[in-house]
Protein backbone atom coordinates (compact mmCIF):
# COMPACT_ATOMS: atom_id res chain seq x y z
CA UNK A 1 0.00 0.00 0.00
CA UNK A 2 1.13 3.56 -0.75
CA UNK A 3 2.74 5.03 2.35
CA UNK A 4 1.85 8.63 3.20
CA UNK A 5 3.90 9.01 6.35
CA UNK A 6 6.53 6.82 7.93
CA UNK A 7 8.38 7.89 11.06
CA UNK A 8 11.50 6.23 12.40
CA UNK A 9 12.98 6.92 15.82
CA UNK A 10 11.76 10.51 15.88
CA UNK A 11 12.83 12.43 18.98
CA UNK A 12 12.43 15.98 20.20
CA UNK A 13 13.96 17.43 23.33
CA UNK A 14 12.95 20.69 25.05
CA UNK A 15 15.89 21.67 27.27
CA UNK A 16 16.44 18.41 29.18
CA UNK A 17 12.89 17.07 28.75
CA UNK A 18 12.32 14.47 26.03
CA UNK A 19 8.94 15.45 24.57
CA UNK A 20 9.05 12.74 21.92
CA UNK A 21 11.35 9.77 22.29
CA UNK A 22 12.09 7.43 19.41
CA UNK A 23 8.61 7.34 17.87
CA UNK A 24 7.95 4.96 14.97
CA UNK A 25 4.73 5.39 13.04
CA UNK A 26 3.35 4.29 9.73
CA UNK A 27 0.34 5.76 7.93
CA UNK A 28 -0.83 4.33 4.61
CA UNK A 29 -2.90 6.12 2.00
CA UNK A 30 -6.58 6.03 2.89
CA UNK A 31 -5.97 5.39 6.59
CA UNK A 32 -7.80 7.30 9.28
CA UNK A 33 -5.14 7.16 11.93
CA UNK A 34 -6.34 7.77 15.49
CA UNK A 35 -3.54 9.20 17.56
CA UNK A 36 -4.30 8.60 21.21
CA UNK A 37 -2.48 9.68 24.34
CA UNK A 38 -2.88 11.48 27.61
CA UNK A 39 -2.19 15.22 28.03
CA UNK A 40 1.49 15.97 27.51
CA UNK A 41 2.17 12.56 25.99
CA UNK A 42 3.74 14.11 22.87
CA UNK A 43 0.88 13.95 20.32
CA UNK A 44 1.03 17.62 19.39
CA UNK A 45 4.83 17.58 19.33
CA UNK A 46 4.77 14.73 16.79
CA UNK A 47 2.24 16.70 14.72
CA UNK A 48 4.40 19.83 14.91
CA UNK A 49 7.41 17.83 13.79
CA UNK A 50 5.51 16.42 10.80
CA UNK A 51 4.17 19.82 9.78
CA UNK A 52 7.63 21.42 9.98
CA UNK A 53 6.84 23.83 12.79
CA UNK A 54 9.64 22.38 14.90
CA UNK A 55 12.76 20.40 14.10
CA UNK A 56 13.64 16.92 15.41
CA UNK A 57 16.74 16.21 17.47
CA UNK A 58 17.01 12.66 16.23
CA UNK A 59 15.28 10.24 13.91
CA UNK A 60 13.61 10.92 10.61
CA UNK A 61 10.31 10.81 8.78
CA UNK A 62 9.24 10.49 5.21
CA UNK A 63 6.20 12.39 3.96
CA UNK A 64 4.88 11.12 0.62
CA UNK A 65 8.22 9.34 0.26
CA UNK A 66 10.24 12.53 0.78
CA UNK A 67 12.79 12.56 3.60
CA UNK A 68 12.25 15.30 6.20
CA UNK A 69 15.67 16.87 5.66
CA UNK A 70 15.34 16.96 1.88
CA UNK A 71 14.62 20.27 0.16
CA UNK A 72 11.63 18.60 -1.50
CA UNK A 73 9.87 18.31 1.86
CA UNK A 74 8.46 21.84 1.37
CA UNK A 75 6.75 20.66 -1.79
CA UNK A 76 5.51 17.49 -0.06
CA UNK A 77 4.11 19.62 2.75
CA UNK A 78 1.95 21.54 0.28
CA UNK A 79 0.00 18.27 -0.11
CA UNK A 80 -1.10 18.30 3.51
CA UNK A 81 -3.58 20.33 5.50
CA UNK A 82 -3.45 20.67 9.27
CA UNK A 83 -4.91 22.13 12.39
CA UNK A 84 -2.31 22.15 15.13
CA UNK A 85 -3.68 22.65 18.65
CA UNK A 86 -5.88 25.69 17.91
CA UNK A 87 -7.30 26.82 14.57
CA UNK A 88 -4.88 29.26 12.89
CA UNK A 89 -7.20 32.10 11.92
CA UNK A 90 -7.06 35.90 11.93
CA UNK A 91 -9.45 36.95 14.68
CA UNK A 92 -9.83 40.42 13.18
CA UNK A 93 -11.15 39.05 9.89
CA UNK A 94 -14.37 37.43 8.73
CA UNK A 95 -14.52 33.75 7.73
CA UNK A 96 -14.53 34.79 4.06
CA UNK A 97 -11.49 37.06 4.46
CA UNK A 98 -9.61 34.38 6.37
CA UNK A 99 -10.22 31.93 3.56
CA UNK A 100 -9.44 34.53 0.91
CA UNK A 101 -6.09 35.28 2.58
CA UNK A 102 -5.32 31.55 2.70
CA UNK A 103 -6.25 31.39 -1.00
CA UNK A 104 -3.60 34.05 -1.67
CA UNK A 105 -0.99 31.98 0.20
CA UNK A 106 -1.91 28.93 -1.85
CA UNK A 107 -1.98 30.92 -5.07
CA UNK A 108 -5.60 30.18 -5.90
CA UNK A 109 -8.33 32.73 -6.41
CA UNK A 110 -11.58 30.88 -6.42
CA UNK A 111 -14.61 32.19 -4.53
CA UNK A 112 -16.58 29.08 -5.43
CA UNK A 113 -13.96 27.01 -3.63
CA UNK A 114 -14.39 29.21 -0.54
CA UNK A 115 -18.15 28.72 -0.64
CA UNK A 116 -17.73 24.97 -1.09
CA UNK A 117 -15.34 24.46 1.88
CA UNK A 118 -17.55 26.65 4.08
CA UNK A 119 -20.54 24.46 3.16
CA UNK A 120 -18.46 21.30 3.75
CA UNK A 121 -17.83 22.31 7.38
CA UNK A 122 -21.37 23.56 7.95
CA UNK A 123 -20.54 27.26 7.85
CA UNK A 124 -22.16 28.00 4.50
CA UNK A 125 -24.16 30.87 5.98
CA UNK A 126 -20.91 32.73 6.78
CA UNK A 127 -20.05 33.23 3.09
CA UNK A 128 -20.08 36.99 2.56
CA UNK A 129 -20.84 37.57 6.24
CA UNK A 130 -18.73 40.36 7.82
CA UNK A 131 -18.74 38.98 11.37
CA UNK A 132 -15.18 38.75 12.71
CA UNK A 133 -13.77 35.39 13.82
CA UNK A 134 -13.24 36.88 17.29
CA UNK A 135 -17.03 36.75 17.67
CA UNK A 136 -17.27 33.09 16.64
CA UNK A 137 -17.89 30.29 19.13
CA UNK A 138 -15.05 27.83 19.72
CA UNK A 139 -16.84 25.28 17.56
CA UNK A 140 -17.21 27.73 14.67
CA UNK A 141 -13.52 28.60 14.87
CA UNK A 142 -12.71 24.90 14.84
CA UNK A 143 -14.81 24.40 11.70
CA UNK A 144 -13.25 27.45 10.06
CA UNK A 145 -9.82 26.00 10.86
CA UNK A 146 -10.84 22.77 9.12
CA UNK A 147 -12.16 24.78 6.16
CA UNK A 148 -8.77 26.55 5.90
CA UNK A 149 -7.00 23.18 5.99
CA UNK A 150 -9.30 21.86 3.23
CA UNK A 151 -8.71 24.83 0.94
CA UNK A 152 -5.55 23.43 -0.64
CA UNK A 153 -7.23 20.10 -1.57
CA UNK A 154 -4.95 18.14 0.77
CA UNK A 155 -4.22 14.46 0.30
CA UNK A 156 -3.33 14.11 3.96
CA UNK A 157 -5.20 15.99 6.68
CA UNK A 158 -3.79 16.30 10.18
CA UNK A 159 -6.32 17.29 12.82
CA UNK A 160 -5.15 17.89 16.37
CA UNK A 161 -8.14 17.50 18.70
CA UNK A 162 -10.71 18.44 16.03
CA UNK A 163 -13.67 17.74 18.33
CA UNK A 164 -12.53 20.31 20.91
CA UNK A 165 -15.24 22.82 21.66
CA UNK A 166 -17.83 21.21 19.39
CA UNK A 167 -21.35 20.47 20.59
CA UNK A 168 -22.73 16.93 20.08
CA UNK A 169 -24.31 17.88 16.74
CA UNK A 170 -21.02 19.47 15.65
CA UNK A 171 -19.10 16.35 16.62
CA UNK A 172 -21.43 14.22 14.48
CA UNK A 173 -21.05 16.66 11.54
CA UNK A 174 -17.27 16.65 11.74
CA UNK A 175 -17.21 12.87 12.07
CA UNK A 176 -19.40 12.54 8.98
CA UNK A 177 -17.24 15.07 7.14
CA UNK A 178 -14.09 13.05 7.95
CA UNK A 179 -15.70 9.82 6.78
CA UNK A 180 -17.06 11.48 3.62
CA UNK A 181 -13.73 13.08 2.70
CA UNK A 182 -11.96 9.79 3.31
CA UNK A 183 -14.49 7.84 1.25
CA UNK A 184 -15.10 10.28 -1.60
CA UNK A 185 -11.77 12.06 -1.99
CA UNK A 186 -9.50 9.39 -0.53
CA UNK A 187 -8.01 11.83 1.97
CA UNK A 188 -5.77 10.20 4.58
CA UNK A 189 -6.29 11.44 8.13
CA UNK A 190 -4.18 11.69 11.25
CA UNK A 191 -6.51 12.62 14.10
CA UNK A 192 -5.39 13.12 17.64
CA UNK A 193 -8.14 13.01 20.20
CA UNK A 194 -8.94 12.34 23.81
CA UNK A 195 -12.47 11.25 22.98
CA UNK A 196 -11.73 7.57 22.41
CA UNK A 197 -15.33 6.56 21.83
CA UNK A 198 -15.58 9.20 19.09
CA UNK A 199 -12.28 8.22 17.55
CA UNK A 200 -13.32 4.56 17.49
CA UNK A 201 -16.21 5.49 15.17
CA UNK A 202 -13.89 6.72 12.42
CA UNK A 203 -10.36 5.38 12.86
CA UNK A 204 -9.01 2.51 10.82
CA UNK A 205 -5.71 2.42 12.64
CA UNK A 206 -4.53 3.60 16.04
CA UNK A 207 -1.30 4.79 17.57
CA UNK A 208 -1.11 4.97 21.34
CA UNK A 209 1.50 7.31 22.72
CA UNK A 210 2.56 7.78 26.31
CA UNK A 211 5.39 9.85 27.76
CA UNK A 212 6.75 10.57 24.30
CA UNK A 213 6.90 6.93 23.25
CA UNK A 214 4.58 5.20 20.81
CA UNK A 215 3.65 2.11 22.79
CA UNK A 216 1.25 0.45 20.43
CA UNK A 217 0.22 0.70 16.80
CA UNK A 218 -2.83 -1.37 16.03
CA UNK A 219 -5.40 -1.62 13.25
CA UNK A 220 -9.10 -1.18 13.97
CA UNK A 221 -9.64 -4.87 13.12
CA UNK A 222 -6.96 -5.96 15.57
CA UNK A 223 -8.39 -3.67 18.19
CA UNK A 224 -11.86 -5.07 17.60
CA UNK A 225 -10.52 -8.56 18.21
CA UNK A 226 -8.66 -7.41 21.32
CA UNK A 227 -11.76 -5.72 22.69
CA UNK A 228 -14.32 -8.29 21.58
CA UNK A 229 -16.71 -10.12 23.89
CA UNK A 230 -15.17 -13.29 25.26
CA UNK A 231 -16.31 -16.31 27.28
CA UNK A 232 -13.67 -18.03 29.36
CA UNK A 233 -14.59 -21.64 30.30
CA UNK A 234 -12.47 -23.83 32.52
CA UNK A 235 -13.01 -27.58 32.87
CA UNK A 236 -11.45 -30.74 34.33
CA UNK A 237 -10.23 -31.79 30.83
CA UNK A 238 -9.06 -28.67 28.94
CA UNK A 239 -7.90 -30.57 25.84
CA UNK A 240 -11.24 -32.34 25.36
CA UNK A 241 -13.01 -29.05 26.09
CA UNK A 242 -11.06 -27.33 23.31
CA UNK A 243 -11.94 -30.06 20.83
CA UNK A 244 -15.66 -30.01 21.71
CA UNK A 245 -15.81 -26.19 21.65
CA UNK A 246 -14.15 -26.08 18.22
CA UNK A 247 -16.80 -28.48 16.90
CA UNK A 248 -19.68 -26.57 18.53
CA UNK A 249 -18.89 -22.98 17.45
CA UNK A 250 -17.23 -21.18 14.52
CA UNK A 251 -15.76 -18.38 16.68
CA UNK A 252 -12.08 -17.67 17.34
CA UNK A 253 -10.95 -19.91 20.16
CA UNK A 254 -7.87 -19.46 22.33
CA UNK A 255 -6.70 -22.40 24.44
CA UNK A 256 -5.64 -21.64 28.00
CA UNK A 257 -4.15 -23.82 30.77
CA UNK A 258 -7.55 -24.15 32.43
CA UNK A 259 -9.74 -24.40 29.38
CA UNK A 260 -10.73 -22.17 26.45
CA UNK A 261 -11.49 -18.54 25.66
CA UNK A 262 -14.10 -18.06 22.95
CA UNK A 263 -14.29 -14.61 21.29
CA UNK A 264 -17.38 -12.95 19.86
CA UNK A 265 -21.08 -13.65 20.27
CA UNK A 266 -21.84 -17.27 20.98
CA UNK A 267 -24.96 -19.31 21.71
CA UNK A 268 -23.90 -20.07 25.27
CA UNK A 269 -26.78 -22.52 25.99
CA UNK A 270 -25.94 -24.69 23.00
CA UNK A 271 -22.24 -24.60 23.76
CA UNK A 272 -22.64 -25.53 27.41
CA UNK A 273 -25.06 -28.36 26.48
CA UNK A 274 -22.50 -29.73 24.03
CA UNK A 275 -19.76 -29.62 26.66
CA UNK A 276 -21.86 -31.29 29.35
CA UNK A 277 -23.16 -33.81 26.79
CA UNK A 278 -19.57 -34.90 26.14
CA UNK A 279 -19.09 -35.68 29.81
CA UNK A 280 -16.83 -32.70 30.60
CA UNK A 281 -17.14 -31.22 34.07
CA UNK A 282 -17.31 -27.42 33.90
CA UNK A 283 -15.38 -25.66 36.68
CA UNK A 284 -16.19 -22.03 35.79
CA UNK A 285 -17.76 -19.81 33.11
CA UNK A 286 -16.69 -16.17 32.89
CA UNK A 287 -18.10 -13.65 30.37
CA UNK A 288 -16.09 -10.47 29.64
CA UNK A 289 -16.04 -7.49 27.28
CA UNK A 290 -13.20 -4.94 26.96
CA UNK A 291 -13.99 -1.38 25.88
CA UNK A 292 -11.52 0.75 23.93
CA UNK A 293 -11.06 2.85 27.07
CA UNK A 294 -10.24 -0.27 29.11
CA UNK A 295 -7.88 -1.45 26.42
CA UNK A 296 -6.19 1.97 26.24
CA UNK A 297 -5.83 2.14 30.01
CA UNK A 298 -4.38 -1.37 30.13
CA UNK A 299 -1.84 -0.42 27.44
CA UNK A 300 -1.00 2.90 29.13
CA UNK A 301 -0.85 1.12 32.50
CA UNK A 302 1.70 -1.28 31.07
CA UNK A 303 3.70 1.63 29.77
CA UNK A 304 3.53 3.45 33.11
CA UNK A 305 4.68 0.38 34.98
Amino acid sequence: MDCVLSIHGLSKKYKKQMAVNGVDMHIDRGDIYGFVGENGSGKTTVIRLITGLIFPHAGSFRLFGVNHDSKEIIKARSRIGAIVETPSIYMNMSAYNNLKTQCRILGVDDDEKIRSVLCDVGLGELYGEKKHASNFSLGMRQRLGIAMALLGDPEFLILDEPMNGLDPAGIVEIRELILRLNRERGITFLISSHILSELSLVATKYGIISKGRLIKEITAEQLHNECAKAVAISADDPQKLARVAAEAVDNRIECTAEGVKIFGDTDLNALLSAIIGNGIRILSVHCSETSFEDYYLSVIGGARA
Binding site: T51, L53, R77, S78, Y90, M93, T101, I105, M148
Partner: protein
Protein backbone atom coordinates in the same frame (compact mmCIF):
# COMPACT_ATOMS: atom_id res chain seq x y z
CA UNK B 1 7.01 34.44 -2.62
CA UNK B 2 4.57 36.58 -4.60
CA UNK B 3 1.68 34.61 -3.12
CA UNK B 4 2.97 35.26 0.38
CA UNK B 5 3.37 38.97 -0.36
CA UNK B 6 -0.16 39.15 -1.74
CA UNK B 7 -1.47 37.40 1.37
CA UNK B 8 0.52 39.63 3.72
CA UNK B 9 -0.58 42.83 2.01
CA UNK B 10 -4.16 41.61 2.05
CA UNK B 11 -4.18 40.98 5.78
CA UNK B 12 -2.43 44.31 6.43
CA UNK B 13 -5.00 46.10 4.26
CA UNK B 14 -7.81 44.51 6.29
CA UNK B 15 -6.29 45.63 9.59
CA UNK B 16 -7.91 48.67 11.21
CA UNK B 17 -4.55 49.68 12.69
CA UNK B 18 -3.48 50.64 9.17
CA UNK B 19 -6.17 53.30 9.20
CA UNK B 20 -4.98 54.45 12.65
CA UNK B 21 -1.44 54.75 11.29
CA UNK B 22 -2.68 56.80 8.34
CA UNK B 23 -4.72 59.11 10.57
CA UNK B 24 -1.75 59.63 12.91
CA UNK B 25 0.58 60.35 9.98
CA UNK B 26 -1.78 62.97 8.57
CA UNK B 27 -2.68 64.48 11.96
CA UNK B 28 0.95 64.96 13.00
CA UNK B 29 1.72 66.42 9.57
CA UNK B 30 -0.98 69.05 10.13
CA UNK B 31 -0.23 69.79 13.78
CA UNK B 32 3.55 70.33 13.72
CA UNK B 33 3.77 73.07 11.03
CA UNK B 34 0.63 74.68 12.49
CA UNK B 35 2.21 74.91 15.93
CA UNK B 36 5.37 76.44 14.47
CA UNK B 37 3.32 78.99 12.53
CA UNK B 38 1.46 79.94 15.73
CA UNK B 39 4.82 80.27 17.49
CA UNK B 40 6.06 82.47 14.65
CA UNK B 41 3.04 84.74 14.70
CA UNK B 42 3.06 85.13 18.47
CA UNK B 43 3.76 88.75 19.38
CA UNK B 44 6.85 87.99 21.50
CA UNK B 45 8.66 86.29 18.63
CA UNK B 46 7.39 88.62 15.89
CA UNK B 47 8.47 91.66 17.86
CA UNK B 48 12.01 90.42 18.39
CA UNK B 49 13.80 90.78 15.02
CA UNK B 50 16.77 88.66 16.13
CA UNK B 51 14.69 85.68 17.26
CA UNK B 52 12.42 86.11 14.26
CA UNK B 53 15.29 86.03 11.75
CA UNK B 54 16.93 83.09 13.56
CA UNK B 55 13.73 81.05 13.45
CA UNK B 56 12.98 81.93 9.84
CA UNK B 57 16.42 80.57 8.88
CA UNK B 58 15.92 77.43 10.96
CA UNK B 59 12.25 76.60 10.51
CA UNK B 60 11.61 75.99 6.84
CA UNK B 61 9.44 73.55 4.93
CA UNK B 62 12.61 71.67 4.05
CA UNK B 63 13.74 71.31 7.67
CA UNK B 64 10.21 70.26 8.68
CA UNK B 65 10.15 67.68 5.91
CA UNK B 66 13.43 66.01 6.90
CA UNK B 67 12.77 66.33 10.63
CA UNK B 68 9.58 64.35 10.12
CA UNK B 69 11.70 61.23 9.47
CA UNK B 70 13.26 61.42 12.95
CA UNK B 71 13.05 58.09 14.77
CA UNK B 72 12.85 59.76 18.16
CA UNK B 73 9.79 61.98 17.64
CA UNK B 74 6.24 60.96 18.52
CA UNK B 75 5.33 59.52 15.14
CA UNK B 76 8.78 58.02 14.60
CA UNK B 77 8.12 55.87 17.66
CA UNK B 78 4.38 55.31 17.23
CA UNK B 79 4.44 54.04 13.64
CA UNK B 80 6.97 51.22 14.18
CA UNK B 81 5.08 50.17 17.33
CA UNK B 82 1.75 49.97 15.46
CA UNK B 83 3.52 48.21 12.62
CA UNK B 84 4.89 45.60 15.04
CA UNK B 85 1.38 44.99 16.39
CA UNK B 86 0.09 44.38 12.84
CA UNK B 87 2.99 42.18 11.77
CA UNK B 88 3.15 40.11 14.96
CA UNK B 89 -0.48 39.04 14.52
CA UNK B 90 0.81 36.25 12.29
CA UNK B 91 2.69 34.92 15.30
CA UNK B 92 0.12 35.68 18.02
CA UNK B 93 -2.79 34.18 16.02
CA UNK B 94 -0.61 31.26 14.93
CA UNK B 95 -1.44 31.97 11.27
CA UNK B 96 2.27 31.68 10.46
CA UNK B 97 1.60 27.91 10.68
CA UNK B 98 -0.73 28.13 7.67
CA UNK B 99 2.17 29.39 5.56
CA UNK B 100 4.57 26.66 6.63
CA UNK B 101 1.98 23.89 6.28
CA UNK B 102 1.02 25.29 2.85
CA UNK B 103 4.56 24.45 1.76
CA UNK B 104 6.18 27.88 1.86
CA UNK B 105 9.86 28.04 2.79
CA UNK B 106 10.86 29.86 5.95
CA UNK B 107 13.20 32.09 3.92
CA UNK B 108 10.29 33.18 1.71
CA UNK B 109 8.09 33.78 4.77
CA UNK B 110 10.75 35.96 6.41
CA UNK B 111 11.46 37.87 3.20
CA UNK B 112 7.75 38.51 2.76
CA UNK B 113 7.59 39.81 6.34
CA UNK B 114 10.59 42.09 5.71
CA UNK B 115 9.27 43.40 2.40
CA UNK B 116 5.77 44.10 3.73
CA UNK B 117 7.26 45.77 6.82
CA UNK B 118 9.56 47.91 4.63
CA UNK B 119 6.80 48.93 2.23
CA UNK B 120 4.37 49.80 4.99
CA UNK B 121 6.87 51.73 7.13
CA UNK B 122 8.22 53.63 4.13
CA UNK B 123 4.73 54.38 2.78
CA UNK B 124 3.40 55.74 6.06
CA UNK B 125 6.54 57.78 6.80
CA UNK B 126 6.54 59.20 3.26
CA UNK B 127 2.85 60.06 3.58
CA UNK B 128 3.64 61.88 6.82
CA UNK B 129 6.73 63.61 5.41
CA UNK B 130 5.07 64.83 2.20
CA UNK B 131 1.97 65.96 4.08
CA UNK B 132 4.29 67.85 6.45
CA UNK B 133 6.05 69.41 3.44
CA UNK B 134 2.81 70.52 1.78
CA UNK B 135 1.35 71.93 4.99
CA UNK B 136 4.67 73.63 5.87
CA UNK B 137 4.78 75.26 2.43
CA UNK B 138 1.55 77.07 3.32
CA UNK B 139 3.24 78.77 6.27
CA UNK B 140 6.96 78.83 5.41
CA UNK B 141 9.34 79.00 2.45
CA UNK B 142 10.95 75.77 1.27
CA UNK B 143 14.32 77.20 2.31
CA UNK B 144 15.90 80.61 2.93
CA UNK B 145 17.50 80.67 -0.56
CA UNK B 146 15.74 80.21 -3.93
CA UNK B 147 15.12 76.62 -5.03
CA UNK B 148 17.52 75.42 -7.76
CA UNK B 149 17.98 72.23 -9.76
CA UNK B 150 20.85 71.35 -7.42
CA UNK B 151 18.41 71.58 -4.50
CA UNK B 152 16.15 69.14 -6.30
CA UNK B 153 18.93 66.54 -6.64
CA UNK B 154 19.94 67.22 -3.04
CA UNK B 155 16.30 66.62 -2.00
CA UNK B 156 16.17 63.30 -3.89
CA UNK B 157 19.51 62.15 -2.44
CA UNK B 158 18.37 63.07 1.09
CA UNK B 159 15.11 61.20 0.53
CA UNK B 160 17.05 58.12 -0.60
CA UNK B 161 19.18 58.26 2.58
CA UNK B 162 16.05 58.54 4.73
CA UNK B 163 14.46 55.58 2.96
CA UNK B 164 17.62 53.53 3.55
CA UNK B 165 17.34 54.28 7.27
CA UNK B 166 13.67 53.24 7.22
CA UNK B 167 14.64 49.97 5.52
CA UNK B 168 17.21 49.41 8.25
CA UNK B 169 14.49 49.94 10.87
CA UNK B 170 12.20 47.55 8.94
CA UNK B 171 14.97 44.91 9.00
CA UNK B 172 15.35 45.43 12.76
CA UNK B 173 11.59 45.11 13.30
CA UNK B 174 11.36 42.00 11.09
CA UNK B 175 14.21 40.40 13.00
CA UNK B 176 12.57 41.16 16.35
CA UNK B 177 9.13 39.97 15.14
CA UNK B 178 10.53 36.71 13.77
CA UNK B 179 12.70 35.91 16.76
CA UNK B 180 10.82 37.14 19.84
CA UNK B 181 7.89 35.29 21.33
CA UNK B 182 5.46 38.12 21.93
CA UNK B 183 4.54 41.53 20.63
CA UNK B 184 5.15 43.30 23.97
CA UNK B 185 8.73 42.14 24.11
CA UNK B 186 9.31 43.27 20.52
CA UNK B 187 7.98 46.76 21.32
CA UNK B 188 10.04 47.07 24.52
CA UNK B 189 13.23 45.96 22.77
CA UNK B 190 12.65 48.27 19.80
CA UNK B 191 11.97 51.33 21.96
CA UNK B 192 14.96 50.50 24.19
CA UNK B 193 17.19 50.15 21.12
CA UNK B 194 16.07 53.47 19.60
CA UNK B 195 16.33 55.31 22.93
CA UNK B 196 19.81 53.90 23.45
CA UNK B 197 20.85 55.18 20.01
CA UNK B 198 19.29 58.60 20.68
CA UNK B 199 20.92 58.92 24.12
CA UNK B 200 24.32 57.85 22.78
CA UNK B 201 23.88 60.29 19.87
CA UNK B 202 22.95 63.19 22.21
CA UNK B 203 25.88 62.51 24.54
CA UNK B 204 28.29 62.30 21.61
CA UNK B 205 27.02 65.60 20.15
CA UNK B 206 27.35 67.39 23.48
CA UNK B 207 30.87 66.02 24.08
CA UNK B 208 31.91 66.88 20.50
CA UNK B 209 30.50 70.42 20.91
CA UNK B 210 32.35 70.98 24.18
CA UNK B 211 35.60 69.56 22.80
CA UNK B 212 35.35 71.73 19.68
CA UNK B 213 34.88 74.84 21.82
CA UNK B 214 37.67 73.97 24.24
CA UNK B 215 40.04 72.70 21.54
CA UNK B 216 40.10 69.02 22.48
CA UNK B 217 42.39 66.33 21.10
CA UNK B 218 41.78 66.09 17.33
CA UNK B 219 42.19 62.31 17.07
CA UNK B 220 39.68 61.76 19.90
CA UNK B 221 37.32 64.19 18.19
CA UNK B 222 37.54 62.38 14.88
CA UNK B 223 36.74 59.08 16.60
CA UNK B 224 33.74 60.64 18.37
CA UNK B 225 32.57 62.28 15.12
CA UNK B 226 32.82 58.90 13.36
CA UNK B 227 30.57 57.23 15.93
CA UNK B 228 28.17 60.17 15.83
CA UNK B 229 27.90 60.01 12.06
CA UNK B 230 27.32 56.25 11.84
CA UNK B 231 24.49 56.47 14.37
CA UNK B 232 21.27 56.19 12.33
CA UNK B 233 19.28 57.91 15.09
CA UNK B 234 21.53 61.00 14.71
CA UNK B 235 21.15 61.05 10.93
CA UNK B 236 18.14 63.40 11.25
CA UNK B 237 20.59 66.05 12.50
CA UNK B 238 22.56 65.86 9.27
CA UNK B 239 20.38 64.63 6.40
CA UNK B 240 18.72 67.48 4.50
CA UNK B 241 20.33 70.14 6.66
CA UNK B 242 22.77 71.46 4.03
CA UNK B 243 22.89 72.01 0.28
CA UNK B 244 25.23 69.28 -0.93
CA UNK B 245 26.86 66.03 0.14
CA UNK B 246 30.52 65.06 0.06
CA UNK B 247 31.56 61.49 -0.81
CA UNK B 248 32.27 61.01 2.90
CA UNK B 249 28.70 62.11 3.75
CA UNK B 250 27.27 59.65 1.23
CA UNK B 251 29.29 56.83 2.80
CA UNK B 252 28.21 57.85 6.32
CA UNK B 253 24.53 57.90 5.31
CA UNK B 254 24.51 54.72 3.26
CA UNK B 255 26.95 52.21 4.79
CA UNK B 256 25.50 52.03 8.34
CA UNK B 257 21.99 51.59 6.91
CA UNK B 258 23.11 48.97 4.40
CA UNK B 259 25.04 47.14 7.10
CA UNK B 260 21.97 47.34 9.35
CA UNK B 261 19.70 45.91 6.63
CA UNK B 262 22.15 43.10 5.88
CA UNK B 263 22.90 42.44 9.55
CA UNK B 264 19.40 42.50 11.00
CA UNK B 265 17.92 40.88 7.90
CA UNK B 266 20.57 38.15 7.81
CA UNK B 267 20.30 37.48 11.54
CA UNK B 268 16.51 37.34 11.33
CA UNK B 269 16.58 35.00 8.37
CA UNK B 270 19.13 32.68 10.01
CA UNK B 271 17.30 32.58 13.30
CA UNK B 272 13.82 32.17 11.76
CA UNK B 273 14.96 29.26 9.61
CA UNK B 274 15.95 27.31 12.73
CA UNK B 275 13.24 28.56 15.08
CA UNK B 276 10.71 26.22 16.66
CA UNK B 277 7.24 27.68 16.17
CA UNK B 278 4.27 27.27 18.47
Amino acid sequence: MMNLLRADFRRIRKDKLLLVMGILAVAFALITPLLYSILFSSTDVADDPMVSSMLSGYITAKSQFFASFSLGNNLGLAIPILLVIILCKDFSYGTIRNKIIAGKSRSAIFMSLFISCSVLLTAVMLLHAFMTLFVSLIFFDYQATPFTLGDFWYFLASLAFEILILLCIAALLSWLCAVMKNVGLVIVLYVAFIFALIIIGSILQVVIGVMEMTGGDESTLSILRFFDRINIASAASYIGMGNSYSIQDVLYFTLPSLLGIAGFGGLGLMKFRKKDLK
